[in-house]
Symmetry: D2
Subunit: 400 residues, 4 copies
C-alpha cells in the first residue's frame, strides 16, 4: 500500500506518470462515510479528487464541492451534470466513488459504467436482486474495475486470516461465527418517525428491505465468506426489530452452512444499547482456530490443539504477503479503520492502472471485494428475510 520499504515512493505515479482522477457522489456535510472515503483516497496518494456531487440539492452540492477545494467548474450540482461534464474533458475523472443512499446505487453505477468509469460503490450494492445481477453483467461486459466497499476485508490481519485458511493452516474449515453488535439504533421506539426527516437508514424505501442486514449484516456475511474463502450454502434466520414499534429491523440471528458443510452462526444487531462496535469473527478448522476483533484490529489469535496459541501482530513476524502488502508502518503502531478502507482504494488504483496500461494483475492484487460479492450479499439478505418469514432453511446460493 505505502511506499515504506518499497522501490517506488508512489506506485501509481511510477507506473502511470500521475495520480488517478477521482470523482465522488455523496458524502456531504453530516455524512459519516464521506470523510472516510476521502481520507481513504488520500492516505496512499494514488488519487487526485477532481470532481464531486456533494448533495442531492444542486446548490448545496456545488457549494460543498467548492468548500472541499474542488475547482468551481467541477463542483457539480448533480450526477448527471458530473458525468456529462467530465466526459467532455481531456482530463476528466477516471474513477467514481458512490456513497449515496442504497436505492440510488444501481442507477449511478449504471451511468458510471456507461461513461467508462471504474467504480467504487458502497454496500449494499442494490436494494434488489435484479439490479444487482444487472450490475454484474454490465461490469463483466465493460471490463471495468468495480469494488463494493466491504471495507473490513482491508484490515491486514483479516487478509492474514484469509491467507492462512487458503494455505490450509487451519485444515478443513468446520465452524465460523461472526458478530456485529452496534448500539447506534438502540433507542426505545418511535425513532422512525423522528428519524424520517434526517435518517434515510431507517426508511425502508431508501435503505431497502432490511436496515440491519444492509447496513451491517452484509459486512458480516462478507467477512465470513472472505475469510473462509467459501460461499454460503443455506441459512436459517430470525430477523426482527427488538425495539418495539420500529418499521425497519435491527436484529438478525442467523444459522448457516458453508458450501463444504461447515456450520455457521451470526449475531447481528444495531440495537445493542451502549455497544461500541463489536465486529468480530472466530473460525475453527481441523487444525486450529482464528479469532479477530475489529476494536483491536492489529492482533490475530491462532489457537492450536497441542500447542500454545499464537498472537500475530500487524507489522510483526509470521505474516503472509497478503497481510504485509496491506499495511503501512511498523509493528506496534496501530493502524485502523481509515487505513483498512484505504487498502480498498489502493487495490482499486492498482487494478485501474493495470487495466489502463493493459498489464496483468496478480491474484493478490485482485483480492478486493467485487461486484459479484455485492450481488451475493444481496442474495444473502433476500434469503435471510425469506427464511425469517417462512421460518425455514433457505438455499442462499447465487448462480451468476
Amino acid at each position: 500500500m505505502s511506499d515504506w520499504g518499497k522501490p517506488s515512493l508512489n506506485e501509481t505515479i511510477a507506473r502511470l506518470g500521475r495520480r488517478l482522477r477521482l470523482g465522488v457522489i455523496g458524502g456531504g456535510p453530516g455524512s459519516f462515510v464521506g470523510p472516510v472515503h476521502r481520507i481513504a483516497a488520500r492516505i496512499d496518494d494514488n488519487y487526485e479528487l477532481v470532481a464531486s456531487v456533494l448533495s442531492s440539492d444542486p446548490e448545496r452540492a456545488r457549494a460543498n464541492g467548492r468548500a472541499l477545494g474542488i475547482a468551481a467548474d467541477r463542483a457539480y450540482g448533480s450526477a448527471e451534470a458530473m458525468f456529462a461534464g467530465e466526459s467532455q474533458r481531456p482530463d476528466g475523472m477516471e474513477v467514481v466513488a458512490i456513497m449515496t443512499p442504497n436505492d440510488s446505487h444501481h442507477a449511478l453505477a449504471v451511468a458510471a459504467l456507461e461513461h467508462g468509469l471504474d467504480v467504487i460503490c458502497d454496500k449494499p450494492l442494490t436494494t434488489n436482486m435484479g439490479d444487482a445481477l444487472d450490475l454484474v453483467t454490465r461490469v463483466h461486459d465493460t471490463g471495468l474495475v468495480f469494488c463494493t466497499t466491504f471495507n473490513y476485508s482491508g484490515f491486514p490481519l483479516v487478509r492474514q486470516a484469509r491467507a492462512m485458511i487458503r494455505d490450509g493452516d487451519l485444515g478443513e474449515i468446520r465452524m465460523v461465527h461472526v458478530q456485529y453488535i452496534q448500539g447506534y439504533n438502540y433507542v426505545l421506539s418511535g425513532d422512525e418517525e423522528r428519524g424520517n426527516a434526517d435518517n434515510w437508514r431507517l426508511r425502508p424505501e431508501r435503505v431497502g428491505p432490511s436496515t440491519v442486514l444492509g447496513d451491517i449484516g452484509s459486512h458480516a456475511w462478507h467477512l465470513a465468506s472472505f475469510v473462509t474463502g467459501m460461499q454460503f450454502d443455506r441459512l436459517m434466520a430470525d430477523v426482527t426489530a427488538v425495539v418495539p414499534g420500529r418499521k425497519s429491523d435491527d436484529y438478525a440471528g442467523i444459522l448457516f452452512r458453508l458450501e463444504n458443510g461447515a456450520a455457521g452462526n451470526m449475531w447481528i444487531t444495531q440495537a445493542g444499547a451502549g455497544a461500541v462496535h463489536g465486529l468480530c469473527f472466530r473460525v475453527f478448522g481441523t487444525k486450529g482456530g482464528l479469532e479477530w476483533f475489529e476494536e483491536e484490529p492489529n492482533r490475530l489469535t491462532q489457537q492450536r490443539p497441542g500447542q500454545p496459541a499464537l498472537l500475530f501482530e500487524r507489522g510483526g513476524p509470521g505474516l503472509k504477503p497478503e497481510a504485509e502488502r496491506a499495511q503501512r508502518t511498523y509493528m506496534g503502531h496501530p493502524e485502523g479503520f481509515h487505513e483498512a478502507f484505504a487498502v480498498l482504494y489502493a487495490d482499486v488504483a492498482k487494478a485501474v492502472v493495470a487495466r489502463r496500461l493493459k498489464q496483468p494483475l496478480s491474484t493478490a492484487d485482485r483480492d478486493f471485494p467485487t461486484v459479484e460479492d455485492g450481488a451475493r450479499a444481496v442474495r444473502f439478505m433476500e434469503a435471510s428475510l425469506e427464511s425469517s418469514r417462512t421460518k425455514s432453511w433457505v438455499d442462499c446460493r447465487l448462480k451468476m
Copy 2:
C-alpha cells in the same frame, strides 16, 4: 460464603454445632469432576466427607474411599451399600453428591431422596424428560434440598449480572447471546471407536441423546436463563457433529426467544480445535448491556448508552449483595472455578441447615440451581434435538 468479615467463623458450626455429613457417589481416580466436587465441599468448611462410592467396581470403590481418608467401614463398594449402611448409623450421611455418568443420575437421586437425603446432582439431571419430571415431583413431595450443579451460576459476577437485571439496571431485556466453545473433542474422526473403552461422554447410551447439549449446552442454557431471570419460549436449532463419522454430536447453533420475546443466539461446540474454554454471555436491555467471560471471571462489563462503560471487579465497589455473598477475598485476588463451584455447596449447606432447623431461608440464600432447573434443561435439550431434526421452531416451555 466465607467467614471474612462475617460475624461467625463457620456459619454451619455456628448454627448446627457441627459440619454437615457428606457422602459422594462417583469421582474416582481419573475423574475430572470428582476432585472439583471435593475441593468445592472443603473450601468453605461446611461439610465433613464421611462416606463414598468411588468406582462402579466394588473392590476399587472401597480402596479408593480409604485412599481418600474415608473410614474403612464407610468406604462403600456400591451406592446401595452406602444408602443402607449410612441409614443405620446415628451419625449417618445427610447430604449426597452424585457425580456419575448421566444415565445413572435418576436412579441414584431417587434412592437418595427415598433415604431422606438432601442431594447435589451433576447435570444433565437425567437422560429423558420423564425421569426429570419424576425427580421434580419427588423433590417437591419430600421437601428435601436438591441442587443441580449448573456451577457457572456460582461465580460472583454472574450473580451480579442476575441481580442487576432483576433490579432493572438494564431495563427490559431485548437480546442475549451465549457461547461455550470447548476444544476437548476436536479430534478428526473415529474417536467414538477409540473412546468407547474409556470415555462414556462419547457413548450415547450413557450420556443421553446429545453429548454437546448435555455436557455444555445445558450450562449455556442455564446461564442465559439464570442471568436474564427468564425462561426460554421457543427455539430453532442446528445440532450436528462437525467431526465426520462421529456418533455423538459436538456442535449446536441455536436461535431462541425468551418468554418476553427477547431474541437469543447460542454457539455451542466441543470441537473448537485449540479452544481454551470460551464460556461467555452478552445481554442487552433497553438501558444497556452486560458482558462476562468465564476465562476472566472476576470482571463484568456494563455498557451504557450515553455514558462510559463500567467495569465491575469481584471484591470491588458497586456490587450487589448477591455478588458479595458469593465471594471470599479482597478485590484483585482472583477467584475461579473451584470457588464458584463451592458457592453451590455453601448455598446447599445453608438450605440444609435451615431445613433441619426448620428456619426460613431468604430469597438470596435460595438462589442456587434446583431440580426444576435440571428438568427445564432436559426440555431445552429435547426441544433442540427436535428442532434440528424437523428444521423448524419448537416450543420449549416446560409445564410443571
Copy 3:
C-alpha cells in the same frame, strides 16, 4: 497438587497413612489472611486443622477456635499454651502456620522450631535483619521445614516462567520489571491516626520499618528473584509516602541490577486510588520476553523476536512439569489466589512427609519460598530504605 490424574487420591494419606496435623496462630475474625490460609490448607486435603490461637485476647482466642470447629481443649488462648499443650499430646500438631502481625513472627517461629514444628510463616519474615538471620540459622540447625508465604510463586504460570528461564528459553536475562499497584491505602491523610485503633499495618512499631515494602514490596522482590532465578545485586530506591501526613510509607520506585548485571525496575504502591491489584512482571532475555499479570493469572505471554508471540494457558499445551504439578483442573477453568496459596501448603506437606519418612525430596518438590528467601527480602527492604535515605545505590546482597 491435586489427585486429578494422579496415582493416589491423596498423596499425604498414601504415604503417611493420615493427614498432617496443623495449628494456626492468628487469622481471627476480620483478618484477611486467616481464611486464605485455612482455605489453602483445605484445598488439597493434606492437613487436618487441630489447634488454634485466633486472637491476642485469650478469651476471644478460645471462643474463635471453637467457632471454627477446633476441639475445645485445643482452641488455645495463647501461643505459649498451644506449644505447651500440643507438645504433651501423642497426636499433637506437627506444622504451625503463623499469620500474626510482623513484629511477632520471630518469637513465634523460634518457639515453633524449638518445639520441633515445621513452620509456614507469613512475610515479611521479621522486622529486622538480625532476627531474620537468627531464623535462618535455627532452621538450618534443626533441619525443619520452613516456608515463607511468598504466595504468588504458587501460581502455575509463575512456575512456568521460572522453569522457562531456568531452561534457557529466554536466553540470558537482560531486564526485569515488576509492578504491584494496590489501592487499599489511598486515602487522603491522617489515616494513621484513624488507623491506630484497628490497623496494625499502618503502625511502624508493629509492621516494621516499611509498610509498603513489608506488605507488597517483598512480594515483588520475591517474584523478580523467583522468576529470574537470580539474586539482586544492588539497588537505588525512592521510598516515600505520597499520601501527605502519613507516618508509614506507601510508595517505592526501585531501580536495581541482578547478579548478572541485568537491569531492573519496580513500581510499588498501596496508594493507587481505585487500583484493583496490579501485580505483574515482565522479563526480557536475549531470546524473548515473558509477561504475567496476577489479575489474569491463567495466562502467560512469551514474546519472541522473529516469531509470533505464544500464549500459554494454565492446563494447556506446552507447560513445563513445574507448572503442571502446581495445577488442579482442566484448561480454561480459572484457578486463582486460593489455589496458588494452596500450592505452598501442598509443597510444605510433601516436604514434611519426606522429612518425617526420611525420604529424599526432589528439586521440583523443594521449590517453595524458604526462610532464606524471607531473610533476603528483609535485606532487600533494609537496602531500599538505606538507598532512599542516602540517595545512592546500595549493595543489597545477603551473605548467609
Copy 4:
C-alpha cells in the same frame, strides 16, 4: 480535525481560501517516518505538498521528489536550494517539516525560521542544550509556529487524559508511570558495526548523546509531562546498554519527581526482544487513576475508589472537547498512529492560519507540543545521562 459534523468541509480552505503549502526535508525511500509525515499531512487535507528534499544526495533527492509527484523544479537537491528557491516564488512553501537525522535539526530549523517558515520538526529537537535554547529564542523572536513531533500527544484519549487531569477529575496527582518497551534493537551485539553503514540511529555522532532517550525516552518524558500538565523536577536514572558491546544505549530506568512532588517511574528500552511497542502510562491522583496503552489507543480506563472503573472509548460518551476535536469518526472504528500524527498537522494548520490571518488561537487549539517542549526534552535527556553517570539525583528543571 475532520469535517465530520463540522460546519465546514475543510477548515483551512474555509478560512484561507486554499490549502497550506508544505515542504519536507528528509523521509526518502527506506525512511520509517517519511511516509508517516506525508500521510499525516494528507489525512485532514489542510496541506498541499509542494516542495521536497528527499535525500542528502542531490541527485537522488531530486529524483525522489519527482517520484512523489512534486513538480520537477520544486523537487530540490538540498535544503539550501529549497529555502532559496521557494523564497523567490509568490506561491512558495509556507510550512516546512523536518524529518532528518537528529544532528541536522538545529541548522535546518534555524534556516527555516530565517526564511519566515512555520516549522514541524522531529524529536529530539537538537543534540545539545545550547542549540535547543537557541531555537526557543528564535521561535519566540520570530513569532512563527513551531511544533516538535511528540506525536503520541495527538491520540484523542491522551488528550482526554490531559483534560481530565487538568479539570481535577483525578484530584491532586501523586504518581505517574510510563513504559516504552520496543524490541527493534534487541540484537545480541556488534550491531553498531553492522549498523554503521545504514542506521544512523545507532551512531552517537548523528543521534546525539543517547539513542534510547532521543528515540523513545523523550516521547515517554513528553507523555508524562503532557498528561499530568506538570514539569519534571528531579530524577535518578540508570541508562545503559543491556546488549553487550553496544556503543549506543538501549535501556533507561528513571525515578523522578514532578514539580508538585508526585513520584514517577519510567521503564524505557529498545532491547525488549520480541516486544511489540509497549508505550503506556498510568497516573494516580487523590481521586483515582488513568491507564492508557498505545497498542489499544481507542480506550482509556479510569479507576475510581469506591466506584467501578470507567471505560472511555474514542468517539464514545463522556469525552472532553479536547478529545472530541482530535478524532474523526464514529465510536468503535479504531483510529491509530497515523491519525494521531495527523492531529499535530491539523493543530499546526490551525495555528498557521490564525497567525497568517492575525486571528486569535484558542487555548485548545494551541495545545500541541512546542519548541519549549523540545528543549525541555533535551534537558531531561542531559539530566538523565548526568544522573546515570554520577549515580545521584539531578535537578532537571529548565529555566527559559
